[in-house]
Symmetry: C2
Subunit: 128 residues, 2 copies
DNA sequence: CTCCATCGTTTACATGCGTAATCGATTACA
DNA sequence: TGTAATCGATTACGCATGTAAACGATGGAG
C-alpha cells in the first residue's frame, strides 16, 4: 500500500474540538466554526482562527478560497484520528490488548446495557 | 462516600512511565526507578528525579526516608488512573459510549483472537 | 573527623498548547 | 472611489512538559 495518511504532527485536544465540528459539516468558514464550537467551549474568534491555522500547518485541514475568506475542510478522516488515538491508549495503558480495557470499563461500571448488547452483537459478527 | 482520591493534577505521559515502574514494585529509590524505566525510555537520572518530584507535588507519590535518600511509592492506584484515562478517551471520542470504541478497535483489526475470547467470557460473567 | 559520593532541590531552557490582541490586506457597500 | 467591516497572518504570553545541569546538604568510608 502507498503512503499512510501522513498526518503530520499530533492534534491537540483543543484542536480536536475544532476538527469535530468540521467532521460534522464541511467546508465551513472560520466564523461558522467558531459559532459551532462555541456551543461547547467558549472561545473567541481569534482563538478559533489560531487553532484552524495550526491545523492547516499540521496538514489536518485544507483550505479553499471563497471570496475574501477561506473555507476549511478536514484532510484526515475522523475514523483515522479516532483509530489512532484509541490504539495509542490501548498500547499505553493495556499493553496493546483490548480485553483489559474492556475489563476496566466493566469494573468501572462504564458499560451500559446498550453497550453490552452492542458489543455482543459485534462479537458475533466478528466470529462469522 | 468520603473524598475521592483527590489526585491533584493530571499525570503527563512521561510521568506515567515513571508511575508504571512504581506500580510494578514499590517502594523504590530514584536510582532504581531510573534503571527500571531506562529499559523503555532513555532518560538521565536528573530527568527521572524531576519527574519523581513533580509526581510528589501532584500527590501521586509519597516518599519515605531511607537514610540519605527517599523511597517512592504510588498514592493513586493504577486501576484508578487507568479508569480515569479510559473514561476520558471514551468521553472525548465516543460520546461516553464504549460500544463504538470496540467497533473502532474491531475495524482497525486491533482485536486479537485472545481478546475476543476474553471479552466473550467477561460478557458472560456480566450477564450472570 | 574528613572527604567523596550521592541525595533531593533549584534552576534552566526549548517546545507545544491554550488563549488572545493586533496588524495589514481585501472586499463589499455606500 | 473611498471607507468601514472583515479576513488571514503575525505576534504575544503564561503555563505544562520533556529533558537536563548545577548546587547544596548529608551520610558513609576511611
Amino acid at each position: 500500500m502507498a503512503d499512510k495518511p501522513e498526518h503530520g504532527e499530533r492534534i491537540s485536544e483543543a484542536e480536536h474540538a475544532v476538527m469535530e465540528v468540521l467532521w460534522e459539516k464541511a467546508p465551513q468558514s472560520a466564523q461558522d466554526v467558531c459559532d459551532q464550537v462555541g456551543a461547547l467551549r467558549d472561545w473567541s474568534l481569534p482563538t478559533v482562527k489560531t487553532l484552524l491555522a495550526r491545523l492547516v500547518t499540521k496538514q489536518a485541514l485544507t483550505t479553499e478560497r471563497d471570496g475574501k475568506r477561506f473555507l476549511y475542510s478536514p484532510v484526515i478522516a475522523r475514523s483515522d484520528y479516532v483509530g489512532t488515538e484509541s490504539r495509542r491508549l490501548v498500547d499505553r495503558l493495556f499493553g496493546g490488548r483490548a480485553a483489559p480495557l474492556f475489563a476496566q470499563l466493566a469494573k468501572a461500571e462504564a458499560l451500559s446495557h446498550d453497550d453490552i448488547a452492542e458489543i455482543e452483537a459485534l462479537l458475533k459478527e466478528l466470529k462469522s
